[in-house]
């Protein structure tokens, strides 16, 4: 990792957090965020991602460890002196203030001059394309507009860093996608560091430079979206990100980069060795649906399957097969006009050894 003299912009150093002294909601968190990065904390609810964000914002104190911002420990700095902007889950716009007053609030408490305040508010409103809505109250705006006001408010005082806690959770699907791009573009334009929390993996994949996948208080994997999807390091990440077919087996042979895994009643699978124990231990195999080939002539990693269900999705066809004791095995086939599968028919499936990953059995 980084040498001690060139620390990251934000550094979580051995952070533990417990609310009741019995359960750790965050365990030994070490996370570095570079300046200008868009980092997403992704995980199911209760995985500790929001707690981590709240510690960074200053609303929770770490039970152990220290958070550094620009090389300075910030645990003892109260939230109002951290200069960190935040977009809350339900926006937390102040209902008794107009949009303009909401935006000038952070500038007012910083004792900015009136003209400076006005100028910055106008700039921020223009940035989110709400220039004409300054005199409205939050209740008079739509969900998407409120969202953009919240974003503008978090940016208007030029914070060192912006945190976003599931900011799009309350929007409907179309608007959510539109806002994802908008936030991404604003980030690219002004180059601010963003720490984003979500449980929606497609949102994380769309927006982030890097994603930290949280589960059970631990960062399972921290990498760029493509690596996260294509090279998951453990079965949680493999299952949480994207669609995934898993098969349980026992490790038979270790060939260095590859390994052989026996699936009971089906045979031997050759797979990429990622995260397995020693020979004889159980392992979980993971292959993406789009990497599975149908009826190809291969001699290894080729198995017989039964078509359980076919779902027509226009551009592709989704087949649920039963393969290697897994009757929830999904295959995606692009619709090229030549698919003649029938339900209950038998087909051959196969995959490349480099596309199937042997992961931990949990």
């Amino acid at each position: 990792m980084n040498a001690s003299d060139q620390r990251a912009f934000v550094k979580f150093d051995k952070i533990d957090k417990s609310y009741d002294g019995e359960v750790l909601v965050v365990k030994n968190l070490n996370l570095d965020i570079e300046k200008g990065e868009f980092v997403t904390m992704l995980g199911p609810s209760g995985s500790g991602k929001t707690t981590t964000l709240m510690m960074l914002a200053g609303f929770e104190t770490p039970t152990n460890g220290e958070i550094f911002l620009e090389n300075k420990p910030i645990s003892k700095i109260p939230p109002y002196e951290r200069e960190i902007g935040m977009v809350f889950q339900n926006y937390a716009l102040f209902p008794h203030m107009t949009v303009q007053e909401n935006l000038s609030f952070p500038l007012e408490v910083r004792k900015n001059s009136k003209s400076e305040t006005q100028e910055k508010v106008k700039k921020a409103l223009d940035m989110v394309e709400l220039g004409e809505f300054g005199s409205r109250f939050p209740a008079q705006l739509s969900g998407g507009q409120q969202q953009r006001v919240a974003l503008a408010r978090a940016l208007v005082f030029e914070p060192r860093l912006v945190l976003m806690d599931e900011p799009l959770g309350a929007l409907d699907k179309n608007l959510r996608e539109q806002m994802q791009y908008e936030i991404k573009h604003i980030h690219e334009r002004i180059g601010i560091t963003v720490v984003y929390v979500t449980h929606d993996q497609s949102e994380a994949l769309t927006m982030s430079n890097r994603i930290a996948v949280f589960n059970d208080g631990v960062v399972q994997q921290l990498s760029t979206p493509d690596i996260l999807y294509e090279k998951p390091e453990n079965s949680f990440v493999a299952e949480f990100i994207g669609e995934n077919n898993t098969m349980l087996g026992t490790l038979k042979k270790d060939d260095g980069d590859y390994c052989e895994v026996e699936i009971e009643g089906a045979g031997i699978v050759k797979a990429k060795k990622i995260n397995v124990g020693s020979v004889g231990e159980k392992t979980k195999l993971s292959v993406r649906p789009e990497r599975v080939m149908i009826n190809s002539q291969k001699d290894h990693n080729s198995f017989e399957g039964v078509v359980e269900e076919l779902i027509y999705l226009g551009d592709h066809i989704r087949a649920r097969l039963s393969v290697c004791n897994n009757n929830d095995f999904i295959v995606k086939m692009p619709n090229e006009g030549n698919i003649v599968l029938k339900e209950k028919s038998k087909i051959k499936v196969s995959w490349d050894p480099s596309d199937i990953r042997a992961l931990d059995y949990n």
Binding site: A57, F59, Y80, A92, F94, H96, F105, R153, F157
Partner: protein, 424 residues
């Protein structure tokens, strides 16, 4: 879809009936049902609320009873030029009206006459018996005026006659003037009451003062409790809510009596203070039978009426608001004042209005705990209702109370807006 439109630009239904007519027809049944559901309550409110209040308002200006007792006299009286004494005709009318009038009605009229000038009652009572005797004997006098003055020299006192001018109208404002320590002089001008009889303005001011204090203390004490209630985990807040509501389940009298036990000079609080050596035995604090006692007991009793509206407002203020304010750079105190407090205004004003309106008309507690200088205006309403039977004055005080409340509601609506009221 095709929409049929008639010549007059009305949208028509498929059958050609105007849409509005059709809608009205379809809705009629619902309307009738809604009305029938509300009707019993409406009737109940009219009978038990609107009618009595209307009656009270009428009574506060009503002077018709006396006009039914002395109609002829008043008619003659109006012709008098107000010089010296009234003409013979007036004396004659009142002579016969006293002789032939119904005892009870005359009695009521006398009470009314005494409000305008004390002495009327005894004057007429003393005269009436003799007049009846004269009428019975059939030996009618030649000059009624002289005879009556002979019976009682009061009849020769012009001030009695002048005061009658206040009674000849069927409507009077005398009760309202009385309710604020004023009365008419013999010329019909409004003047202050005698020094000894001035007690209403004092009581009004005290009532307002106590109500303001009680509202203020309820707000000061209730705000933190409501805040705690709204922010504690459900398990604890439910328990706390029971404590808040406990007073509602205890008789008002019991609670008031308990306060007397607590606050009196030989009571619990003084006892503890003496025992702790904070005060000497001869320095026991007078906390009951005065305004202090009234304020303490009423604050406790009215506190839930402040807490509940505040609680319901605070409950829906998201916790993230305070966090957002701090995140934006406001220190906790500033965040509280700028962000939290303004959002509790509907609760504060609803609670304040409720407590104030209840306090201004409070009776039992100040009556028991208040002693002589802790009594509120309700005391005089009860006093005139039960003891003096001066229902006119009673109604006037009640009407003023009603007017004060309406003014408050009006102000509230102007400042906060009545649709912002939140009571739970």
């Amino acid at each position: 879809m095709e929409v049929t439109i008639s010549a007059t630009n009305e949208i028509l239904t498929t059958d050609g009936i105007p849409l509005k007519v059709s809608l009205k027809k379809a809705e009629r049944k619902n309307k009738i049902r809604a009305f029938l559901l509300v009707f019993p309550l409406l009737l109940f409110i009219i009978v038990t609320f609107v009618v009595p209040i209307g009656d009270m308002l009428l009574r506060s200006v009503d002077d018709s009873q006396i006009n039914t007792v002395f109609p002829k006299t008043f008619e003659e009286y109006k012709k008098w030029d107000r010089q010296d004494l009234p003409p013979e005709e007036v004396y004659k009318s009142i002579f016969f009206e006293l002789a032939e009038g119904e005892g009870i009605q005359i009695g009521k009229a006398l009470t009314r006459m005494n409000y305008s000038k004390s002495g009327w009652k005894s004057l007429i009572k003393k005269t009436k018996r003799k007049i009846k005797k004269i009428v019975k004997s059939g030996d009618l006098p030649t000059s009624y005026k002289d005879t009556m003055i002979e019976i009682h020299k009061g009849w020769g006192d012009p001030s009695f006659w002048v005061s009658m001018s206040q009674m000849t109208d069927e409507r009077t404002l005398i009760y309202y003037w009385n309710a604020i320590d004023r009365t008419y002089d013999i010329d019909g001008n409004v003047i202050m009451q005698d020094e000894k009889r001035r007690m209403y303005i004092k009581t009004w001011i005290r009532t307002l003062k106590v109500s303001v204090y009680v509202t203020f203390f309820c707000l000061i004490l209730g705000f933190p409790v409501a805040h705690l209630l709204a922010n504690l985990p459900l398990r604890y807040s439910n328990l706390l809510m029971i404590f808040v509501l406990l007073p509602f389940w205890t008789s008002l009298l019991v609670r008031t009596t308990a306060w007397i036990v607590m606050l009196q000079q030989k009571g619990v609080i003084n006892g503890v203070l003496v025992w702790l050596g904070i005060i000497n035995d001869d320095q026991r604090i007078q906390m009951v039978y005065n305004m202090t006692g009234t304020i303490i007991a009423m604050t406790q009793i009215l506190l839930p009426f402040m807490i509940l509206p505040l609680y319901s407002v605070m409950k829906v203020i998201p916790k993230s608001h305070m966090r957002a304010a701090q995140n934006l750079g406001a220190k906790p105190v500033k965040a509280f004042i700028r962000v939290y407090l303004p959002q509790t205004v509907p609760g504060m004003s609803a609670g304040g209005l409720l407590v104030f309106v209840l306090a201004i008309g409070y009776f039992i507690t100040p009556e028991l705990v208040g002693g002589k200088d802790g009594q509120l205006i309700g005391h005089w309403i009860a006093y005139h209702l039960k003891t003096t039977l001066n229902w006119g004055l009673c109604s006037a005080i009640g009407s003023i109370l009603l007017a004060v409340m309406l003014v408050l509601y009006w102000l509230y609506n102007k400042i906060v807006g009545i649709d912002n009221i939140k009571l739970g």
